[in-house]
């Protein structure tokens, strides 16, 4: 039996999981977490052949299908100390909160899944590539869904994105202060 992974999920993946019918699988096979700002943000929707359907994260929490994590101020401070102001503004609150949570030492087992290139690159920029996981890897027991994934949800694309982030560290990380003798 495979060990359940603790996975922090971003908005784009939640929407895609509903559109492609693998949300239940994710919730059953893994322990799913959502950043607090994703839950508290405006209601989000997914599109199916039945039209637009509202998603209800609060219901998932009640049913214990998913759990909520809130970043602590010290985590956000740590993030703002590391990243340039421009870079902070390239991401939305859900992604920033997720990165702040990953930077904290409170959830050492937690992995972050996203299909957003900017967020994947951010993992590389912050040297957190090892804390990221592609949707493809999370669906290894569900080949029917795995085979239909778009490139942004695949492992290769994820690795490429984090590598690009690593290369762009000098652009987006705040400069370390020089040590004076």
């Amino acid at each position: 039996m495979t060990k359940k992974l603790d996975v922090l999920v971003d908005t784009v993946v939640v929407i895609n999981a509903h559109e492609n019918g693998y949300w239940e699988h994710l919730c059953n096979k893994h322990c799913i977490y959502l950043p607090n700002s994703v839950i508290e943000d405006e209601a989000f929707y997914f599109t199916s052949n039945k039209g637009k359907t509202a998603l209800t994260p609060s219901k998932w929490l009640q049913q214990k299908k998913a759990f909520c994590i809130e970043a602590q101020p010290s985590d956000i401070v740590k993030l703002t100390e590391k990243l340039s102001n421009d870079f902070l503004h390239t991401l939305d609150s859900g992604e920033l909160e997720a990165l702040a949570i990953l930077l904290s030492e409170n959830y050492p087992e937690l992995l972050f899944t996203t299909a957003d290139k900017a967020a994947v690159k951010a993992l590389g920029v912050l040297n957190l590539s090892y804390k990221g996981i592609s949707v493809e890897c999370l669906l290894k027991h569900l080949p029917s869904a795995k085979n239909k994934l778009k490139p942004h949800f695949k492992k290769d694309w994820f690795i490429k994105g984090t590598s690009e982030g690593l290369l762009e560290q000098n652009l987006f990380l705040k400069k370390e202060p020089l040590i004076t003798k």
């Binding site: 908005t11 784009v12 929407i15 607090n36 700002s37 508290e40 943000d41 405006e42 989000f44 929707y45 599109t47 637009k52 809130e70 970043a71 602590q72 101020p73 010290s74 956000i76 401070v77 703002t80 100390e81 102001n85 421009d86 902070l88 503004h89 390239t90 991401l91 939305d92 609150s93 859900g94 992604e95 920033l96 909160e97 702040a100 957003d116 290139k117 900017a118 967020a119 994947v120 690159k121 778009k150 490139p151 942004h152 994105g161 690009e164």
Partner: protein, 375 residues
């Protein structure tokens, strides 16, 4: 979120902007100022999404809310042609404008490539107390030449300001006859009235361009406290707009051998995309007709009933956020420099409507597939 510095810093930054608690609550889209009071008193924890919104609205780096020391963050001065009577609306529009402007600058930096770089808008100084109409005409002539506005300045002006000089053009529903602009050391923005017809907006664009070129903090504070000077500056801006959109040499050429009939003047106004009234006044200033003739025509129902097609058109030359802004944000997203949720937020579109919104602008999400160059 709980941090000892946050409540104090929010209060300090709000006060630096000269905002009341209620005004800040309005900008945040909150019904009452109770939440701001509670946050500033440390009775309510501020959430990360609220802090990001504050950071964006007040153009203040996120880290400033955590720092011990006070950084300077002041309310910017916007130059309005005509302010809305309701100060709440003015405040909201001003902060909206600055938020768009800061986001525009962000995507400009993120998508920086050689082909997308822009020139610095010229800056000119003048003495508002002396007669400046001759100087304004000369300025319009030199801008027309330097900006390569050609035979149809109205057609080229929008494209030139957006693409060559990187001016952010926004259209919003404003009071009748209103427009506004803002310039700082790194760029400029013009806000037009989306309720106005195309020719009126183009005239406003040229009018606001005069303010941007002559932008000077000292001049702005002077005209904002002296109605006579304000009106004079507005009149100079109108003269500049008229001279820029209806260049003397071209009008001379068009008019020299033609009969000045109503239909000719209306057709000429259509050619230069200005109102027939503006064309009449321009012909008067260029000494083709007398002031009395202008006034007679403007009272004549026969003349007033004419309406060139262009005045019926809605403004489609730029979208509400400016074509360049949308394109740069799109490129930033496609290049993985902006997250999708942030992209939608910058465009003020709901995530679910993003693809449809882009499709309306002729843009599509492509996963940034690359085409190989020919060897």
């Amino acid at each position: 979120m709980d941090n000892q510095n946050i409540p104090r810093r929010i209060r300090e930054i709000r006060e630096q902007h000269g905002l009341s608690q209620q005004e800040l609550a309005d900008l945040m889209g909150w019904k009452s100022h109770a939440s701001i009071v509670a946050i500033e008193n440390g009775e309510k924890n501020v959430k990360i999404q609220e802090l990001l919104k504050l950071s964006s609205i007040l153009s203040t780096p996120l880290e400033s809310f955590f720092s011990e020391t006070s950084s300077t963050s002041e309310r910017p001065t916007i130059l309005w042609r005509k302010k809305a009577a309701d100060s709440k609306i003015v405040l909201r529009e001003e902060y909206n404008l600055i938020e768009y402007y800061k986001n525009y600058q962000l995507v400009e930096r993120l998508s920086q490539t050689k082909s997308l770089s822009t020139k610095y808008l010229p800056k000119k100084t003048f003495d508002i107390h002396s007669d400046q109409y001759k100087w304004v005409n000369q300025l319009a002539e030199s801008i027309h030449k330097d900006f390569h506005l050609g035979d149809y300045p109205a057609e080229s002006l929008i494209k030139c300001l957006e693409e060559e000089y990187g001016v952010l053009l926004i259209s919003r529903p404003l009071e009748e006859g209103s427009a506004a602009c803002y310039r700082d050391e790194s760029g400029s923005v013009i806000i037009l009235n989306e309720k106005e017809v195309r020719w009126r907006q183009i005239f406003s664009l040229a009018h606001e361009l005069f303010h941007l070129i002559t932008w000077n903090e000292e001049l702005i504070s002077k005209i904002q406290s002296d109605e006579t000077l304000f009106n004079k500056n507005e009149s100079l801006a109108d003269a500049f707009a008229a001279a820029l959109l209806m260049p003397q040499t071209m009008i001379n050429h068009d008019v020299s051998e033609s009969k000045l009939t109503y239909s000719f003047i209306i057709a000429l106004a259509g050619k230069y995309q200005v109102s027939k009234q503006a064309m009449l006044w321009r012909l008067h200033h260029l000494r083709f007709i007398t002031k009395e003739e202008v006034q007679l025509a403007l009272k004549d129902p026969e003349f007033l009933k004419f309406d060139h097609e262009i005045s019926k058109q809605v403004f489609t030359a730029t979208s509400s956020l400016g074509n360049r802004f949308i394109r740069l944000a799109y490129l930033s997203y496609e290049n993985g420099k902006l997250s999708k949720t942030k992209f939608a937020r910058i465009l003020k579109v709901k995530l679910r409507d993003l693809e449809q919104y882009l499709a309306e602008k002729g843009l599509f999400l492509t996963d940034d597939k690359e085409i190989r160059r020919a060897c």
